[in-house]
Symmetry: C2
Subunit: 186 residues, 2 copies
């Protein structure tokens, strides 16, 4: 993979700052410093704070698409179901460090105030729900699994580290009658 561009590194810094300090403390100065550029340098790449936010939303959209494609591929290959992939990457402790999880948490934090971020967050959530519904063939079950993932995200926002669910989500899936592996196609 190509080395990250300057724009990418600035978005990284933005996400980092929102996740660790919260959206209300975000200043162009703080993000620039974290990215290792000056405020002027940042404003060359992103003409305004709003443009910077849009850069992060763009990234989350891309990561969502990529993540869903990965989940679909795994299900088609019979490696693991979409539901399994979804909870594994939401609930599992090691997954918390993934680019997608961190970026999504940042977007959700910002979504409390910025409608544009809320729109992107809902789109990502809706996309997952659609794939889950497709797999389970049942709207309610799909929504249930999605809601569990959403609960995990809320806990991340509130700084809640670990819970029985995050340690034992496989049992939960089993209780809901969701298999670990799908029947392999053809």
């Amino acid at each position: 993979m190509p080395r990250p561009s300057q724009r990418d590194r600035i978005v990284d810094a933005y996400v980092d700052h929102v996740v660790s300090e919260g959206p209300e403390t975000v200043t162009l100065d703080a993000v620039a410093a974290r990215a290792g550029v000056s405020k002027g340098g940042l404003l060359y790449h992103f003409g305004s704070k709003e443009a910077l936010l849009e850069g992060m939303l763009e990234r989350v959209r891309a990561l969502t698409d990529a993540d869903i494609a990965t989940a679909r591929a795994g299900a088609a290959a019979g490696t693991e179901t979409v539901a399994h992939y979804y909870l594994r990457t939401s609930a599992d402790d090691p997954a918390r460090d993934s680019d997608f999880f961190r970026a999504m948490v940042a977007v959700l934090k910002v979504a409390a105030t910025e409608e544009a971020a809320a729109v992107t967050a809902r789109a990502s959530m809706a996309a997952w729900q659609e794939v889950l519904a497709e797999e389970t063939g049942d709207e309610l079950t799909a929504d249930l699994i999605a809601a569990l993932g959403d609960g995990i995200y809320l806990r991340a926002i509130a700084g809640w580290r670990s819970s029985p669910l995050s340690r034992d989500w496989r049992t939960t899936l089993a209780r809901l009658g969701v298999p670990e592996r799908s029947e392999q196609c053809r």
Copy 2:
């Protein structure tokens, strides 16, 4: 019940503003205007923005205690289980207008930045989890139900209105083997 004090009305306005506009747009001016007082008037009751936040956290703590007491009483009387009460007041559409739900959403939104709010949010979540675990006698089931409620809250933050789960949470509880009514004591 006694008519709300001036302090109460200011906290109301604060909650309202955070829920509808988001925490980043909160200014003393905006809250004062919403409460129908001047900025000077607000600062007489709450000496600083931080004190205003503390006022809201205080209220959430009180509402949490009251809500849990109500749930416990209902379970003891055999009216409805704690789990049933919890999901009814989180998932049910009409419940979204309750003082507790709105205040909790406000605290969670602020918790993205303010650690004090995050502490209060986690305490409230932990308190519910404890009652649920007490009732179900199973940590994982309790956490599962709690996580569903948390998912509902996240969707509220992201502006997600209605979902299969919010319309059909009773079915979900049944699938998890949680009864609607508890055996009445003695």
